[in-house]
Structure formats: structure tokens, C-alpha cells
Symmetry: none
Subunit: 209 residues, 4 copies
């Protein structure tokens, strides 16, 4: 951030800008997010926007941080050993559903469309590390089989859960109770497996060419 807001008025301005950015991102995607659009949606001039955000990437960086915090909170709950296992898994699934219900498109755009600029790397890397650690904690707390040294189990869980939730958000079935049940089933089934599947003899299936 180029300049720290010192007055309450300025703080309100930066909040308005960040909220407007999240809104525009959700409505129009990264393609349709232009600095002028955001400034207009926030009700400030483009000049004011640039007084607090040095460039376009810094804008979504602020949005990203908010989303990151939300996700980490959910993951923390999902590895909280003071709760029974089912409650933890439910917290994971329900938390993800809740987060993606708010600005479904914005969240999706944030993770999939928006480029990650050089100068915003640190923040992102920090979160990525936290995210990974949290997912590993979730895996460790809930899986019924041996450790996951490579982190592959955690990453699979993260990818599968995110993928299923995003797909559901796309189809508009995210708030269906059946979907919630199936998500719970999938997460629980994967984590509950004591042994991994035996790989059948190499099948000669392959993609074209």
C-alpha cells in the first residue's frame, strides 16, 4: 500500500475501494475489473484509488488477504482436536460451503484468474505456506492412516474439496443438502481409508496421440 490512511475518512475510503474491488471481481471477473470501474464502484476518483493502492495487483491483494483469513479460520476449526472427528469434518465442509456462498465468483476468480505479481509474492507465499500447513494439520487430525510426509494426501484433499465446491458453485447446487452430504461422504471416505488401493497391472489406456 502506497500510503497508510491516517484519518478515519481515509480508512473508510480504502475499505470502500477494497469492497468495490471484491464486488467487481465477482460480477465481471478479472477481465472486467478495471481500475476505473473499481474507483467508480467505490465512489471515489481514480486518483484517490492510486493514492492508496500502487497498482491493480495491490487491489486484489487486499481482497485476497481477506479471503485467506477466512479459509485459514475454517481450516483451524477442522483440526481442532477438542471437537469430535465428525464435528471437525462437518466444520471443514460447512465452512467451505459458507465461504464460497458469499461471493462465489469472486473467490473463484481470485484463485484461478488473477495473476500473482512479483511484488505480491511474499504475501501469497506466506499464505500458501500457512494453507499447506493447515491442510496438513487437518489431514493429520482426521485421517485414519499413517503420516503424509510428502504432503500429497493434504494437497489431494485440498484440491479435491476445492474442485468439488467450485464445480458445485458453478452448477448452483452448492446449497443443496444432498451436495453437503456427498461432500461429507467424499471427505470422510477418503480420510477414513486405512490402506491405499492396489494398483492393477498397468492398463494400456492412454490419451490420444
Amino acid at each position: 500500500m502506497r500510503k497508510l490512511p491516517r484519518q478515519a475518512r481515509a480508512l473508510a475510503t480504502t475499505d470502500a475501494i477494497r469492497d468495490a474491488a471484491a464486488h467487481v471481481l465477482g460480477e465481471r471477473g478479472w477481465q472486467g475489473l478495471t481500475t476505473n470501474t473499481v474507483a467508480e464502484a467505490a465512489g471515489v476518483s481514480i486518483g484517490s484509488l492510486y493514492q492508496y493502492f500502487p497498482n491493480k495487483l495491490a487491489l486484489i491483494e487486499a481482497v485476497r488477504r481477506r479471503h485467506f483469513d477466512d479459509i485459514l479460520l475454517v481450516l483451524r476449526n477442522a483440526s481442532d482436536k477438542t471437537m469430535p472427528r465428525e464435528r471437525r469434518i462437518a466444520a471443514l465442509v460447512e465452512g467451505m460451503i459458507a465461504i464460497h456462498s458469499r461471493y462465489p465468483a469472486a473467490h473463484h476468480a481470485l484463485l484461478n484468474e488473477c495473476p500473482r505479481g512479483e511484488d505480491s509474492r511474499r504475501t501469497h507465499d506466506f499464505f500458501a505456506k500457512e494453507w499447506r500447513k493447515s491442510y496438513e494439520a487437518v489431514f493429520a487430525a482426521n485421517a485414519r492412516r499413517a503420516g503424509d510426509q510428502s504432503g500429497i494426501g493434504a494437497s489431494l484433499l485440498a484440491g479435491a474439496l476445492a474442485g468439488a465446491v467450485h464445480e458445485a458453485a458453478r452448477r448452483g447446487t452448492l446449497d443443496s443438502p444432498v451436495m453437503k452430504q456427498e461432500l461429507l461422504t467424499m471427505v470422510d471416505a477418503y480420510l477414513a481409508r486405512r490402506q491405499t488401493v492396489e494398483l492393477p497391472e498397468p492398463a494400456t489406456t492412454q490419451a490420444r496421440r
Copy 2:
């Protein structure tokens, strides 16, 4: 396609352009895919590109069609009842890994970043329908529990598998044998579950605000 290639040399050109588009899409994403970049990567002039592809969208449309064909082929194998169940599941997982090993990031960008133009709707809608049907067939052929009238099980399977594979491609762990094992585990575990999980009493977990 604006003009059909009639000479061998023109066919080579269109192929080179489509491959270059897939490559650039994978390397730089939709943002970084410019028509000039693609032309340069294909080793042809921008004019040649526009002789066969009416616009930027048509470019990725061609890439999309290729990926779609690949995926449908895999899904067809995965619901082929002449093979034993393990072989089918292995075909699904291995096929997906193979497809995403080629231009890992390209496939992800294709589905998540690229806008879908008016005129490319038909192709995409056709595929979306086929895709859904195929996944439903896969679910029906391999799940050990009752039917999936709403299609939610199939969509969850599709989303979870794609999400996990994409995440692995991002982390570069897609060709790890452990990853393949875990994918098999996840898919098999989800499909093998006879009953769905009981939802614990409403937990009061929620995202901020």
C-alpha cells in the same frame, strides 16, 4: 474456422498455430495469450493466424475441442463394463493424469480463465452435456450405492477429481506414484461407500462476518 486449409502446407500451419496456442496458454495463461505471441510461437505471421482463426476466441476453441475429445475418451474407458472395476478406476485416474501431463496449466486455464464467446457456445454446450452424461455413466458403473438421480454424485466426482489433478499439476506432483495411489484411493473410497455420512447436529462454525 475462417478458411479450410486445402494444401498440406496450410494444414501444417493450422496445427502449429493450435499447438502454439495450447503452449502459450499453459505458459502464460489467458492474460498472457496474445495473438501475436501465439503467431510468433507458431513461427508464422499474424496474418496467417487470422486466415484460419477468425479471432482470439476461435484459437482456444480449437484447443478446447482437443482437450474435450481426450477427456471423453478417458471417461468412456472408465465406464466400460467389459473391464473389471479396478481397471476402470485405474483407467479414469491414469487417463486424467496423462491428459494433464501434456500441457498441465493449459487445461486449467482453459476451463477457468478463458471467456466463452457467443459462437463457441454450441460446441461447449455439446461437450458439457456429453461430459455430464459420461460422468454419470462412470458413477453408475462404479459406485456401490444407489442411483444418482440429481447427478450430484457425478458432479462431485468430476469436480473433486479435476480439482485434485489440477492442484497436483500446479505443485508438480502429478507424476509422483504416491499421487496416483492417493487419487485411486480417493476415487475408490468415495465410490465404494455404501451409505452416506450422518450429518452431526448443526455446528455453529461460520466464516467471518
Copy 3:
């Protein structure tokens, strides 16, 4: 107009752009009028041009409006019954000469070369109606023969006067006193005729083929 100028400096910019457009149109015709040329001639950047004019057509639309206003003013004078007939006819001829002396070729290009965009239709249609009405008023006020229900007399007067003036502008003889005399003669002679000419028996003259 895409954006209304709010500061004095912006108003000067839009004026400069419109004048430059008229100038370039006169010098190079519609073919040679490029947005960059106009911006350069106006001494502003291409971006500034597009801040006030949404596209190339809007540019000449602004020029057109100015010319239209000028012409309507002249026509109004030419049907002002408080002046004697000679004065009215002189007003018509002198007014047309004055208008076409400013950007001689621009006016011609405006009416003959420039395409008329969808969104500029309304303005043009409005003017076309006014123009027709005004010419009919001029004809009614100055012709020495019966009414012109079909409007053909008025349209002939309009076409002939414009044609002669444009041709003179092209040859550079528009400011010659003889030209003014001849224009007065032509207009007066046509309007003064009490009866129309008898058509001789069908001559068998024809163009080739």
C-alpha cells in the same frame, strides 16, 4: 460523446479535436482520416481523443453537427420574408459560399464519403428532415411558380446548388466574383421560371450498352 468535459481544459481539448477532425477530413478525406492523425493534428494523445469520442464515427458526427447548424441558419435567412427577394437569394448564395469557404473539401467529404453509423442515425435523420423542410420553405418563398407538392423542386435546388458550390470549391473558384454572379443567375433563373420547359419528342440518345 463518451464523457462530458467538466474542466475548461477539457473543453478546449474537445474543441481542438473536432476542429482537427474537420481539418484532416478536408485535407485527406475520409480515407486518410485516422484517429491517430486527428489526435496528432489536435496536439493531444490518442487516449484523450477516445476519452471524449467513443469511436471514429463520433468524431465526424461532431463535425457534421456544426456544418448542419451552419446550413440551417443560411436556409432560414433565405426564406425570411422580411427581406426583399433579391436579398434572400443573395443570402442563400453568399451563405453557402461562406460555409464552403471554411473547410471546402471537408464539407464535401462529410456528405459523400463518410459512412453513417447506427447510433448517429437519429441526429442525421433529424437534420435531413429539417434540411428538407427548410429547402421547401426557400423554394416556396422565392419560386415564381405554383407549389412543389412532391418536393422535387426543392430537392433539385438543393442538389444543384450544393453540386455547383462543391465543384467550384474543388476548382478553387469559389471566391471568384464571377462565380458568385453565376450562382445567383442560376438560382434566380431556375426559381423565376413561371412555366416548365416542354419536353421535345423522345430523343433516341442513350449511353453505351
Copy 4:
């Protein structure tokens, strides 16, 4: 022309190309006339077109020559002293109407839109001279007043007639008998005037600004 057609087949090709150019010019204007469009309309490849016409301008040059011939023929008739005066004037008006009835838009585009390239100057200049001489002959043969040393009378006649005819073509009233009558009236009235009009004392009419 780059290469002279030596075989009958090649002559047919050049004719087809020129006719196609005239047709496209009439249908789509100079803007819409592209070399590929013309080649396609003529049913030949773009390569063949360029074998006979060195560039785009040479294409319309050929069309222009045809139109020029038509016009000169009409003007020649209009100054043919073996016919009575009314017949000559009728020949002028009827001939002009006939020419402009054929490809009205093409003719208009030819004279007003198409740029005159450096290398096509000679042909055009030759015609312009002939055209002027012919109009002067028409004026001399039909005007009832003293000579027109400056050529201004002839040029006014040319401009006024062309302007009125073009305006009529635009309005679609070119084939109306009333229009023919009015054209005859206008031409005859102008040429019949023995003395020019007296200019009233300078009126203070002026265009805006």
C-alpha cells in the same frame, strides 16, 4: 495494366474482373471494395487479379475509363449543332439520367469516394481536360449569352447538373417525369438568361463565428 492479355481466355478474365469491380463498388462502396472481394466476385483467384492489375487503384481506373466514355458521349451529343437546341438539352439531361440509372451508387462512389492515385493521374487528367472542353462546348452551343472565358459557366453547369442528379439518385426520384422536367427547366433557364443578376448591396449575412 501489368500484363496485356494475349489469349481470348485472359481477355475474358480481365473483363470479368473489371465488371466485378464495378459491381462491388456499387454494392459496397469504396470502403467495402477489397481486392479479395473483387477476385471472388469475378470468380478468379487473387493471384490472377494481380497478374493483370498492378494494384487496387488500377482496378477502379478501368471502371472509371468506362464511365468517362459514357459521359463524354452524352456531352458530345449535347453540343451537336445538327440538332435543335431543345433536343440538345434533352439529350444532356436524358443522357445524364440514363448513366446514373445504371449503377447509381458505383458512379457516385467513383467520383466522390475513390482516391486518385499518383500513377493514375494521367488518365484522369486527360479525361478532366476532355470533360471540361466538352462542357464548355455544351455551354457555348446552348447558352444565350456572351462567352465564358473563365469556364466558370461551364463548371457551374457541370456541378449543378451532377449535384442535382446525384441528389435525385440518392432520393430515388431520378426516374420521375417531374424530375426530368425540373432538370430541363433548370438547365434551360440557366443557359437562356441573357444578363446576369444584379447583386444587391452587400447583405450582412454570415455563417456562424
